[in-house]
């Protein structure tokens, strides 16, 4: 029988992207700059958690070792999480958060659309719903990037600072681990390099309206896919995992 481990590992790493970004977004709940965004950001966070659940659920089903999606989400150590670094970065200000969301959604939408054309059958079931959700994330976050970039002197400065801080983390979206390559070769997943031109174009389109430019990135920040995280990640996990660590098996 074919070894499913590479595919399971990739599903979990993609699930990690969604869980960690969803968790970061949820930190805004009750702290957003206006009530409207206080609902909008947790809405998007819930979309991401739903997608994480799909990915984890599929992974543990293939694994068939009795783990649940909650075990994967809450009971691993930091090095076992394989999310890209961008999603674990502290939220920063609203401009940082909204830009990160835009970068991620713009990539994942292309990813799911590509899965729909040619990818694993079960992932295609997730893809239809996810790409609708992400289309909204792109629209909403893109609108804000434009408004802040083309807003007041202060909002434009904050938007530019966000681009400078986060753009170096975007290359990791397209990183291909050996496990990922195995899945590409097996026709389960799209090749991220083929999504690059469209991603660049969607970023460029919004940046033009926002009077932003794509910065040069001499040193791309990577490491999450191999479990090498930033300092912020341990703090994030301690909060994310607290409940299950303190009260093992707790349910609603």
């Amino acid at each position: 029988m074919e070894d499913k481990t590479p595919f399971i590992n990739v599903l979990i790493s993609l699930g990690d992207d969604h869980l960690i970004l969803g968790h970061r977004l949820s930190e805004w709940c009750g702290h957003a700059p206006m009530l409207e965004e206080d609902l909008s950001m947790p809405n998007m966070a819930l979309d991401l958690l739903g997608q994480a659940r799909n990915l984890y659920g599929y992974a543990v089903e293939l694994e068939a070792k009795g783990r649940t999606e909650d075990d994967v989400a809450f009971l691993r150590s930091d090095r076992e999480y394989k999310n890209i670094l961008m999603v674990e970065r502290p939220n920063g200000d609203f401009a940082h958060t909204i830009l990160r969301q835009f970068y991620f959604a713009a990539y994942m939408k292309l990813f799911w659309e590509s899965v729909l054309k040619n990818g694993d059958g079960r992932l295609q079931e997730f893809a239809a719903k996810a790409s609708k959700e992400l289309a909204y994330h792109i629209r909403h976050c893109g609108e804000w990037v434009v408004r802040l970039g083309d807003g007041t002197e202060e909002s434009a400065a904050r938007m530019k600072a966000a681009v400078d801080a986060l753009h170096p983390y975007t290359n990791e979206l397209f990183d291909v681990t050996p496990d990922f390559q195995h899945c590409i070769d097996g026709g389960l997943l799209p090749e991220p390099a083929t999504l690059r031109a469209d991603w660049d174009a969607s970023v460029e389109q919004v940046f033009q309206q926002a009077f932003l430019s794509v910065p040069e990135v001499p040193f791309p920040q990577t490491g999450g896919r191999t479990g090498h995280h930033t300092e912020a990640f341990g703090h994030l996990l301690s909060e994310l995992q607290y409940m299950q660590r303190a009260y093992p098996g707790l349910t609603w």
């Binding site: 206006m34 009530l35 409207e36 609902l39 909008s40 809405n43 629209r139 909403h140 609108e143």
Partner: protein
């Protein structure tokens, strides 16, 4: 967020095809695009509708509350205006 940069908008939601858009509340937004998006986030999270209208609150012309006497009270004693004095045949069904 100041009122100048994010004015107030009134939100109307149509719950199903064929029904009217109904006023559900208001929100602040920088412009019409963001107003529709915020309306989606604030007022349709529980499948409340399939269509959204927004309109700037300051674009709504309202009747004067001080004139509600002359506006509305004359209708109070004209019960014959209600079409409730007919026997509706069963065949007509729900009207």
């Amino acid at each position: 967020m100041s009122i100048e940069t994010t004015p107030l908008w009134e939100v109307f939601i149509r719950s199903r095809n064929g029904l009217n858009h109904k006023h559900v509340g208001s929100l602040h937004a920088a412009d019409s695009n963001l107003a529709v998006q915020s309306a989606r986030d604030v007022y349709t999270r529980r499948e409340e509708g399939n269509s959204i209208w927004v309109v700037r609150s300051d674009q709504i012309i309202a009747s004067d509350p001080d004139r509600s006497g002359e506006n509305f009270e004359p209708a109070a004693d004209k019960i014959y205006r209600h079409p409730s004095f007919y026997d509706i045949p069963d065949d007509v069904g729900h009207m």
